[in-house]
Each structure stands twice: as structure tokens, then as C-alpha cells.
Symmetry: C2
Subunit: 453 residues, 2 copies
Amino acid sequence: MAELTRDTVDYALTQVRAALDRNNVQEAIAALERLKQDEQVEVFDELDVEDQVELLPRLDPETAAEIVVELDAEDQADIAERVDDQTLSRILDEMEPDDAADVIGELPEERQARVLAGMEEADDVRPLLIHPDESAGGLMTTSFLTLRPGMTAQEAIDALREWNPDDEMPYYLFVVDRERRLVGVVSLRQLLVASPNRLISSIMNPDVISVPAGADQEEVANLMKKYDFLALPVVDANNRLLGIITVDDVVDVIEAEATEDVYRLGGVPDEERVFSPLSFSLKRRLPWLYINLLTAFLAAAVVSLFEGTIERVGILAAMQGIVAGMGGNAATQRITILVRGLALSEVELKHALPVISKEALLGLLQGIAIAIVVGVGVAFWQQSAVLGWIVALAMVGNLVVAGLAGAGVPFLLKLLRIDPALASSVIVTTFTDCCGFAFALGLGTLLIAYLPI
Amino acid sequence: MAELTRDTVDYALTQVRAALDRNNVQEAIAALERLKQDEQVEVFDELDVEDQVELLPRLDPETAAEIVVELDAEDQADIAERVDDQTLSRILDEMEPDDAADVIGELPEERQARVLAGMEEADDVRPLLIHPDESAGGLMTTSFLTLRPGMTAQEAIDALREWNPDDEMPYYLFVVDRERRLVGVVSLRQLLVASPNRLISSIMNPDVISVPAGADQEEVANLMKKYDFLALPVVDANNRLLGIITVDDVVDVIEAEATEDVYRLGGVPDEERVFSPLSFSLKRRLPWLYINLLTAFLAAAVVSLFEGTIERVGILAAMQGIVAGMGGNAATQRITILVRGLALSEVELKHALPVISKEALLGLLQGIAIAIVVGVGVAFWQQSAVLGWIVALAMVGNLVVAGLAGAGVPFLLKLLRIDPALASSVIVTTFTDCCGFAFALGLGTLLIAYLPI
């Protein structure tokens, strides 16, 4: 099925491009409108931004909104920047307020005012602009229906019928008092099966879990995941209902946060994707490489201290890499586990001592297990028991360093309110490189009299 | 709020443990039952498995089910193994069939039969056992209500009232014909606002997207994410409705798949968590370290080929590490982006050529950008322009290798149906280590006459 869709998309893309090449925008529009919604998004996504901007004003605003909302934040910003105010206002009017706010939030302030002035639904969007994108307030939508405790089930159903939103309606309806304070929650199912005259106050569940507007989106995601919520209300300091976060927004957050973790551990700035332009990739990835270059020079400086030793026993230059590399590998494993655990709130700062102790002990045991293999291997390979002992002892030392630093640095960064995913690796591998080189070459220097020259 | 809960949990945990120490199971149960559900889970989770198994038969089966379902798959398996058949059957009866199937699926076959025989809801669970855990069939639940096209809205609402499940009811209801073939979907909202006499066939949307039972869970997650679905029907080859996947199950999948990616990139076996026991961590992490040790020996063998050169110009041993390390860092960045893109289906095999070309060119440009800095730096540090040139040229060469291998290996593994996250790093860094050493030391050997000795 996926393949068939792909063919349809490729065919439509060719048609749209050909029509645009002939300057026949109407035909391009027609080709696009023949497609299903997800196919429209895919075709549109593959067009150049110039073509996209040419098509948008001629598309039905609702269709345009459905397409634009599915694009990457980056592409949305590109389009919003180039399309005229009136078209943008019309398209944003068709979006959910939270999605519209995301688009407007990226515009320069002066243009925000003009675009909002042209919108009918501006009042739903404005309050959302004050919340940061990655907070509960930035995730929530303000377009929702509330019930009152004194309504009957039938009155609530009538209100729903009258309100009749296009498509999105959360499975839960929230109940507020006269001051808009959140007092309960009713599911559509409860409403459906209740007898028509029952009061909402007798149907609703008064224990509602909510989050403040300033809560971080990761916290929101963890909460919704834990309780399998389909919707979560957002309140102000006085428990007044400000908005609702629905589970589909949270799915995106979970994935975005995971990608952020993966990327940061790999030394990649968040914004890049596989198909980012070459110049963008070059500009984004270089700074991280330059930071790593600094640490590489630091490690090289450690090696240079032992130049004399290396010139007498050249094979030590091969051994230093084994010791340093294994320390890096062992550290990377524990950084990975720890960073993910911290991100998912499975681990907290108070766990630092037991975790660091466990990992240091584990490093010692790993060091011994690897030292035996590496020591025997090197002794046979180089026909020197002393060289085997040097590498083995250096390995034990460096894996203890990997245990201490690999567990300690993520906690330390967390304490300093720096994302552990961001900097743990580079700091810890600097430790394991420098210590690995120092241990191997230092022991070599001490025992040089016993080494084969 | 999170902190308060934590105190409650710690206090309750002390109480439960103290009661169990005095062999007063009843008091332990009472302490547990006073807590809210999520607190119960946390307290239970921190108990030893012996204590858990002692408590379970005395807990209300519904409470027991709510607790067990929230535990890790690993803990569930430990408990299921130790608790008696009758208790297990009673607890599983209280779970959703898909959750029960996950627990039963981990038992030995003979015991599966005994436990199923003791269950009332065994017929809902049995069909789920034939599907692998990580497929659509393994994710779906078989406990759901279906509508028929000929029903009226009122009849559907009556059916809902009568069916009255405990809590879980998807927002969407699926419509099937006489042969249980999927013919449409109706949302609770549509049902709620429709006039009572309208036929389901006139309310329903006949375009239902579904997945086959064998579909991979990652595919399911991508589909639900793309369309913001709250529920997705699972069908057999004849389009007969087998079950329903709800969004809360998919949230777990998205997170689990992300964790798997993060872990595999970091060389960690999936099952480990920060609080896994020391012996478990040691056993799990060592094999990966031994694999890395093999590749470290390979790289060391490359260095050993140049022992003579190193003994004449010891500083080359410091330079080799800079060249190899930077290649590894540049490769890690692109592996990260590519592996994540492949996992999220943003990148496919057909993109291999353009992506590898882009990354190779990027590697060349990165190489030049870094070579300039590193060449000038080394030339000044070591007062040797020739040494600067050696490191600079080796750097360009190794970053091209990092570009080709870093982009090529993930695609190659994908082609061979091996998860790129699993093995890309170790293979590619073996390339960048060996080539980095060979380039730096090889050029050093060629130009040794011009180096300061």
C-alpha cells in the first residue's frame, strides 16, 4: 500500500511541476486537489519553496492549512516568511490555535501584529504566544468546550452538538466553575451512557490531574505516558483552565525529545536532518568538531610528554590506543544508559552516589575482565610479559576512570543544569583518552628497563 | 508535587518492608492499599521479588493487575515465574487481553496452557499469543465493541451502555459487516451528535486505514503519528477486524524504539537500566567491549607496522590520535543523523547514492576546514611545517573516509537487514581508526627525511 501511494505521489509531483513550468497554476492546483490529504502533504513537501509560495494563495485555505501544519517547523518558517500577510492570515485561521501560534511565533514581531490583525481567530492565538514553544502552555490548544457542574448530561450533549467543531474533539471534557477554575472531568463515554437528566457534577470525576502552563514539555510527556491520558488540562496559578494538551501533540514531543537525546549524544545540533543542504550541514557540524579538536590536542599533549619513551619502545604507541579506546567505549555505554535514564526521569540527582559507586565498581570488574584478555594477548603478540602487564594494569586503571567519570559527569552536568546528553561524551572521553595515554605510557616509562628495545 | 509523592512512597515502602519483616502480610497489604495507584506501583516496584510474590496472592486481583501491568517486562517475567498458577490466572483476568498476552507469552509453553486454563477471559488472550510482541498483532487488544452498518445511532449508544467496559474505550468505534470485514469507522462524537434514528452506515466514514497483524510496531507508530490517530484497527488478509491498537500503546512503542536506538548507538544491550544489578550490567556490557577490543587490536596492528618510523619520530604517536579521533567524531555525527532518519522512515534505501555523495563531499570540506586549523597548530607547536602538512593531509583523507564509511555502512547494514543502529559505529570507527593511523604514520614514513628527529 505504501508503495502505491508513493507512485501516486511521484506522478502527481511530476504533473504539478510540469504545470508550474508552463505557468499554469490552476492546473497544478487541480492536480494537487485530486490527491488524498497525506499525499498532498508529500507532494507539497517536495516542491521548492518558490513553487510552494506560488500555490498557497490559490489553494482553498482549509486545504492549505492542513498541508502547512504537517510540514517541518523549518519549512513552515520558510513559507511564512515569503507568503503575503493576507494569505497567511487566512490559512492560520483554519489551523488549531496552538499550531497557528507555532507558525506566528517564528515571525518578526512587527509582522506578527499585522498577521494577527488580519485573522478572525486572533483572540484564540494571542494568549498562546506568551508561552515558550517547549512548555505546556506552548503545547496546549485554547479551542475547547468546557462544561459546568450544574448542566445536565443532555444539556452537555446539546452544547456539544451546537459547538460542533470540525474534527478535533478530545475524548475528555473538562468542567469549570464560575471563575473558570477546573473542578472535574467527564469522558465522552460517561456522557453517552448517563441518563439525560443527571447533573454533570454527579457524573464527573473531581480528581483531575493538571499541569501549570510553565511546565516543561518533557514533564508533560512523562505524565501523559504514565497515566495513559488522552488529554491533559493546563491551568494557571489559581487553577483556572487555560488550555488542553492532547495526546497527539505529546506523541510528537516524545519523538522530538528522543531525537534530541540521540543527536546530542552523537554531537549533532538538533535542527539537522539527512536531507539538509550541504552548506547547512557543514556549518552546523563544524563547531562540534572544532571543540573535539581542542580535546584531541589535549590528549596529544599528554602523549608528547612521553616522546622519549615512545622513541625507545615504539610499540607503546600501538598499546596507548587500545587502553584509551576501551576506556572510551566503556564510558560511552554508561553515559548512554544514564543520559536516557535522566531524560526519562527514571534517575534523579539523589541517585548520584549509589549509581557512581556501582559504576566505579563495575569499571573495576570490567577492567579486570578485559585486562586478562588484553594482557595475555599482548604478551604473546609482542613476546613480552612485561608489556602485557603494562597494558593490563593501564586498562584496569582507565576502566575505573571510565566508571567514575562516565557516571559522575552526567550527574554533575545535571546539577549545573546543563543537558547531560550535550556534553557528557566529549568531557568523559577527554578523561579516558588522557588517562589512558598517561597510564600506558607512564607505566612504560617506569618499566622501560624491562621492555624489549 | 512530585517530591511529596516521593515522600509518601518512601514512607509507605518503609512500612511495607517493616510489616513483611514481622511476617504481617495483612498490614503490608493495608499500607499498600492506602496509596494512590501510581504510588502503589512505585512502592511495589522497589520491593524484592520475594516480597512481591508474597504480597500478590493477598492483594485484590484488580489492584494486583493494575500494578503488574505497569512494571518492566523483565520484572513481570520474574514475578510470573514465581507466583502460583491460580493467582496468576486471576490477575491476568483483570488485565486488558493484550497486556495479559505479553505476560503469558514469556512463560514456558506447558505453563501457558495451565494458566490459560485457569482464566475466564482466555479466549480473548489466546489469539494474541500467535503474534510476535513487536508486531501490530502483539500490540492490539481484542476486547472492543464493534458496530454494524444497519444499526441506528440510538441502538449503538444502547449497545455501548450495555457493554459498559471498566474504563478503556477508544474514541473511535469500528463498523464491520456480517463476515466481520471492516467497513467503516464512527467517532464517539459523531454518535453523540447524530439524531437517534440515523443509520450507522450513513454516519460512518468508510475510508478506514488499517494495518495487517504482521506489521512491525515501528510502522504502526509511524502511521498513528502521521495521522494523529487515537486508535488503529488491525485486520487479517481478508480485511476482517482482529483487534484495535490504541494510542497509549503506541506512546510506549515510540519511547521504546527511541531508547533502543539510543542504546544501540551507545553499544548497550536493550534490557539494561540504570538500576539493573551489578552482575547483570557486567554480563550484558562485556560482550560489546570484547568486540571493540578486537577492533582495537586491529588498529594497534596498523600502528605496529610503523614501529620503526615512530621510534625515529616519536611525536607522530601524538599526531596519529588526532587524525583517527577526528575521523571518528565526524563519522559519529553522520551515523547518528542517518540511523535516526532510517528508524523514523525519513530515509530509505533508494536515497543511498545521493546521501553518500553528499556526505563524502561534506567529509572533504570538513577535512579541509579542520586540516587548516590542525596543520597550522601542529606546525607552530612542533616547529615543523612538514609535520603540519602531514597531519593536515592525513586529516583530509581520513575525513573523506569518515564521509564514505559513515554514510555507506548504515545503508549497507539496512540492505543486509541488520539494524544500522546496532553495528554502524563499531564498523565505521574501525575504518577511521585504521585509516587515520595509516594515513598519519604512512605520510610520516614517506616524509621522514624532512621531519625533525
